[in-house]
Amino acid sequence: MKFFRLILANLMRSKRRTFLTTFSIAIALFLFCTLRTVITSFEASLRASEATRLVVRHGASLVFPLPLSYEDRLARVPGVTGVTYGNWFGGVYQDPKNQFAQFAMDVPTMFDLFPDTVLPEDQKKAFLAERTSCIVGRALAKKFGWKIGDAVPILGTIYPGDWRFVIRGIYEGRTKDVDENTLFFHWDYLNESLPQGRKDYVGIYWLRIASPSMAAAVSERVDDMFRNSSQPTKTETEKAFQAGFISMIGNIQLLLTILGSAIVFAIMLVTINTMMMAARERTTEIAVLKTLGFSDGLILRLVGGEALLVSLVGGVLGCGLAALIFHEMDFTGGGFFPNFRVLPETILAGLLLAVLMGVLSGVAPAVSAARLRIANALRKVA
């Protein structure tokens, strides 16, 4: 501890340099945590997928709807124990910045298919009873300060017009992986407001099957049933659907990993260079400390400790800011990342990375300082 003051004094020698180095490490680790959280939020949405739930969509693309008339036929497929459906609404609340997911759902059947969406019984009854009502996730309600009875105006984009929903319930997820940033309202309300040509079409059907082992057989049966129709289907497990949805934007995990690694590596090189410059500028001082009796090992720890301290402070700032900012912002990426939370394990990984950066950036200057020959460094041959 008595040497900590010495480390601190040396770091404060050039406040600007120390600040910029710490700041650049903080930025690198902020980005690392952000990119890592994109991956973990994808993983969370995959975890929240039920193995006994299948998703049925148009065989050509998700953007094409399926007829409502498929519902009865789907319900009769052997192995299917429940059906619900819904449409992605894609509206804007007050400002385009306030993006969150909205789904028009077949309310009477949705809770049966999504038991992880937990709503008190009285609120469920109120929601079922009122066609213009909606329910919102706890996180979403907290973000906008909504409470039951509030009216939420939404500007439709896919379904143009000014829509207005009254909140009749605030749901919670049974697990932390369940999205609490979505607004659900009545599909019937949406359907009756549409022009004739757009009525009675559904974006996605969800099927509940008796057992996960039946997924492949049921999917095949469903797709075979509509293979020769004008609206063929593509049926897959909810997990496969989520994974496919994510993969629509490419191998995002690999891309983000490469991007994150490149940022951290570049900043580490800058930090190594800065630390080496800082140590080189102090050659005479290091020689004087050795003259006073500071051993090579102690010099190694002092110079290495500076790099470690800078990296750790940068790491704490970067990871802490990421956790704080995304928590305070309730960031959902326009509904794409409903579970965008910086996880404790991400923070831990960030801090370990900071330690690694500190060690790697401190090794070269610390070793060269420890190896310094006093007589040469004092540069005096009388």
Partner: protein, 228 residues
């Protein structure tokens, strides 16, 4: 101290050769020297005569090419780097021409540096630092940084740093070389006091004959050879 003959410093057949590119540059040649404990010795000689090299060998911050350097009972050539570092901390107080204080530390913190290597408590370190700064006449300047001190004051801080751990030997490399006449005289007087009142053995390299007059004995080095 060497218990057999009372010599604190003994050099036998010491040579030092530097290599510049592939050329050998002999700096010291066959140095034999003995300095008794409590002596104040001045080492004079022209530039390039090897004075500082000899001082570095005796201070344990350089190693001879051949011969033996024995200081405070220890043959320095046999010590490994880590043991040599703790030997320096225990036995040697260095005073440099350019003071070599750490600019980001206060006068107090600079003087405290050698004590950080000891097991002394913070309170004991404070007592010693306060005493050393008082001895060199810098009471009340503890919180000043080197840039806030005059050259003479900086050298006083450097002397306080050199004596604070109560070393066996003080080695001073042209301690007045960067000072004006008044400050130089004050520093020399201080060194004399340390020698007389605290019985510190002092080996001082100097160009200045007036400075050398303050010592009890003057050695002359020329082209790496001690003159008779």
């Amino acid at each position: 101290m060497d218990s057999k003959n009372g010599n604190l410093i003994e050099l036998r057949g010491v040579t030092k050769v530097y290599h510049r590119d592939r050329i050998e540059v002999p700096v010291l040649q066959g140095i034999d020297l003995a300095i008794r404990e409590g002596e104040f010795v001045a080492l004079m000689g022209p530039s390039g005569s090897g004075k500082s090299t000899l001082l570095n060998l005796i201070g344990g911050i350089d190693t001879p090419t051949s011969g033996e350097v024995r200081v405070a009972g220890e043959s320095l050539g046999t010590l490994k780097s880590s043991r040599l570092a703790s030997w320096r901390a225990r036995h040697i107080g260095f005073i440099f021409q350019l003071y070599n204080l750490i600019p980001v530390l206060t006068a107090y913190q600079n003087v405290e540096l050698p004590l950080l290597l000891t097991r002394l408590s913070s309170a004991d370190r404070k007592k010693r630092v306060t005493f050393a700064l008082g001895l060199v006449g810098l009471e009340g300047r503890e919180k000043h940084f080197p840039r806030q001190l005059s050259g003479g004051e900086e050298q006083r801080v450097a002397i306080a740093r050199a004596i604070v751990a109560d070393p066996t030997l003080l080695v001073a490399d042209e301690p007045t070389g960067d000072l004006d006449a008044k400050n130089a005289a004050e520093i020399l007087l201080l060194l004399q006091r340390l020698n007389r009142e605290l019985q510190k053995t002092i080996l001082m390299v100097t160009h200045d004959p007036h400075a050398a007059e303050r010592a009890q004995r003057t050695l002359h080095l020329d082209k790496g050879v001690l003159q008779p």
